[in-house]
């Protein structure tokens, strides 16, 4: 009997058992789908639609209750980085309530607009804001500061700029006279700009770039001499965010690994349940046992991947089937790499418990390093972390799917070819390793 036929017989037997356990099979598909769904859905909130940064919650106690404070809060609510509370319909909170909420861990930032906010503003002064915060929430702190800065410039219509410059100079150690000169210079500059770029009062909706007038909110961002040019593949779906594509790729790869490991463990089950003896004593070539498990695992993996990607397409419209050839190449290489990894673990482990323990650890580590949980590749990491990331098959699989979803690369693109080649390399190495271990185990 030839190896392929024997392997196919063993794979068919395993598939029959796999599909016969309907609850197990449904769980095998439902759990990954649920996780892909949850992560894809959550990524919309965490990173915002269109790939923008998400919003940090900011609670506010308005003790001034003036027109200016209301206008400030409206601008703050419009800021892209802040989600303002209490929202419309929610009860107002006091400063002491904010303090208690932070102590209780219910919120991390509370802003107090003290009495006199509006009056100070009308007098041309800089009203002081009071921020109550949990000091460990640095990321949220940065996002809130950006929102407050935008709202502060907006509410003062730029009038606070000279005073802010003076305050900043004093904080840097400049003496009062010099700081006042800076304030005076800033005031003159502001007036000059307003004269040159008058604000259109009559037709605010119709204003174009030339007639936009002086806008302090965008003033600083426009100071850097920068021409912005956007590049995005023409076929990229507009609804998809980078983080969504990352989440779907990452969780799909991670769940596929978990699913396929369970299949790979069937090799150990044969040993533990005694059927391995009969397989070994049969006329089937011995390597057919390993290849049979390989085929079974790869077939299940391919089906799981198809179901997961179809789900991703249906729910998140990531345009999965845009390029069938690239999709097929990626699915095959990813399935082969993960299957080989599963077989390597199954060949190494002596018991199911060993296999499950080691593989869970490795899968979680590889998922973390490979970017399945968060986009590690988007950050500047130390060289050794960089190499650790690139040593995982998850990194290359996710990179391939991201290349297809986000960058719309075809399988002939050099970056995609690299991803596919590395995945195939992983497959060959792991398959050879598992064959050696399997043979060694037989001879032990």
């Amino acid at each position: 009997m030839d190896t392929f036929r024997a392997a196919w017989l063993i794979a068919c037997r395993d598939l029959r058992s796999y599909f016969r356990d309907r609850t197990g099979m449904l769980l095998g598909f439902a759990l990954p789908i649920a996780l892909v769904g949850v992560f894809g859905f959550l990524s919309t909130f965490l990173y915002g639609e269109g790939g923008a940064m998400g919003r940090a919650s900011l609670w506010v106690a308005d003790e001034d209750q003036s027109e200016s404070s209301a206008r400030f809060l409206q601008l703050l609510a419009d800021a892209e980085t802040v989600s303002l509370h209490p929202a419309v319909g929610e009860d107002a909170v006091t400063e002491s309530e904010l303090r208690q909420k932070i102590i209780d861990g219910e919120i991390h930032h509370g802003l107090v607009l003290t009495a006199g906010f509006g009056q100070t503003m009308e007098q041309g002064g800089l009203p002081t804001l009071r921020m109550l915060r949990d000091p460990g929430r640095t990321m949220e702190d940065m996002m809130i500061q950006i929102g407050i800065m935008q709202a502060y410039f907006g509410v003062t219509e730029g009038n606070a700029w000279p005073a802010m410059m003076g305050r900043q100079m004093r904080q840097l150690g400049m003496d009062d006279d010099m700081a006042k000169q800076v304030e005076s210079f800033s005031e003159s500059t502001l007036q000059l700009m307003r004269t040159v770029f008058p604000k259109s009062e009559e037709e605010p909706e119709a204003k174009n770039e030339e007639l936009a007038g002086f806008d302090m909110q965008n003033f600083f961002t426009q100071m850097v001499p920068m021409e912005e040019e956007d590049f995005s593949p023409p076929d990229r779906p507009k609804m998809v965010t980078w983080m969504q594509a990352q989440s779907i790729s990452g969780i799909t790869v991670m769940m596929l690994m978990f699913g396929l490991l369970a299949c790979g463990v069937s090799l150990i089950r044969e040993r533990e349940e005694g059927t391995m003896q009969r397989l070994l004593a049969s006329p089937a070539p011995r390597s057919a046992i390993l290849w049979g498990k390989f085929m079974f695992t790869a077939i299940v993996g391919f089906i799981q991947l198809t179901v997961l990607l179809t789900f991703g397409e249906t729910v998140f419209h990531v345009d999965t089937f845009r390029d069938p050839a690239t999709l097929l190449a990626l699915m095959v290489c990813t399935t082969l790499a993960i299957t080989s990894f599963g077989m390597l673990i199954a060949s190494w482990a002596q018991t199911q418990k060993q296999a499950e323990g080691v593989s869970t650890l490795l899968i979680l580590m590889m998922s973390c390093l490979g970017g399945a949980w968060f986009p590690l590749q988007a950050f500047d990491v130390p060289v050794y972390v960089h190499y650790a990331m690139r040593s995982t098959l998850t990194h290359w699989a996710i990179s391939g799917f991201q290349g297809m979803f986000w960058h719309q690369q075809s399988w002939l693109h050099p970056a995609m070819l690299l991803d596919l080649s590395v995945l195939l390399g992983f497959s060959v190495l792991a398959a050879c390793g598992s064959l050696l271990l399997f043979r060694r185990r037989l001879d032990a």
Binding site: M1, A6, L9, I10, R13, R16, S17, R20, D21, E273, G274, T275, Q277, R278, L279, L280, A281, S282, P283, A284, P285, R286, L442, D443
Partner: protein, 250 residues
């Protein structure tokens, strides 16, 4: 025996790391013979059968099957000459009896009508024709044991190795298995059979090998063994205890 042996085992040795499980064991099995392989726990019976059927590959010594060098661990063709009924139940609980036999039959190279006939015969042999479509996980221990034998004999091998096929079953199943083996014997099949049930071996086997601590202690028919010990009226169990001692084996 005047005819040439079907299987000849010469100076077989096998060690599990430091512990030598089989020590210089030589024996022959002749066509149509039922050879009883007896010994206390840990005597090396299962290890010997595992070497013969190729499950263990790093043994020393030599084996010939019909006069040809025999190393079934390295040759799938040579494994096809053998049928193995392992001591552990080697069946898939989530498949039916029929599916188990079909799978093992296909692995043994059977197809088409030959496979259908072999499966049907196997189900008859196991007395499970009426339960053919039931999953093995729903079977009793005795039913599984019977099916285990049928799975090993599906392709009608030239030599059938049975490792304690009646262990742990009720008297009815044991009787069924025994009658099945008698049928095979009457068909002229060649069997190597290990058991702890002396009366079974006495009734079934043409010749008995008693192994003790990995080496051959005695061989011959039950009667010949008794006479060799000057205990002409002794039964096989008394002979066995005389040869292997009464101390417990763990």
């Amino acid at each position: 025996m005047n005819q040439a042996p079907l299987l000849q085992v010469n100076h077989l040795r096998y060690a599990y790391e430091e512990r030598e499980a089989v020590r210089d064991l030589s024996f022959s099995v002749y066509p149509g013979e039922t050879l009883g392989f007896l010994g206390p726990n840990g005597a090396g019976k299962t290890t010997t059968l595992s070497c013969v059927c190729g499950l263990l590959r790093k043994w020393q010594g030599s084996m010939q099957f019909r006069g040809q060098e025999f190393a079934p661990g390295k040759s799938s063709k040579q494994r096809a000459l053998l049928g193995v009924v392992p001591q552990e139940l080697a069946l898939y609980g989530d498949l039916t009896a029929q599916e188990n036999l079909q799978f093992f039959g296909r692995l043994a190279g059977l197809r088409g009508d030959k496979l259908r006939q072999a499966v049907s015969r196997g189900l008859d042999l196991a007395g499970l024709s009426s339960r053919a479509r039931d999953r093995v996980s729903t079977f009793s221990g005795g039913m599984k044991r019977r099916l285990n034998i049928a799975a090993g004999d599906l392709h009608s091998p030239e030599l059938l190795l049975l490792d304690e096929p009646t262990a742990g079953v009720d008297p009815q199943s044991r009787n069924h298995i025994f009658e099945t083996l008698m049928e095979l014997k009457e068909e002229g099949r060649t069997l190597i059979y290990t058991t702890h049930y002396m009366e079974e071996a006495e009734r079934l086997c043409n010749r008995i090998l008693i192994v003790h601590e990995g080496a051959l202690a005695a061989s011959g028919s039950a009667q010949e063994l008794a006479q060799s010990l000057d205990l002409p009226d002794a039964n096989l169990e008394q002979v066995f205890l005389q040869l292997t001692g009464r101390s417990l084996r763990d």
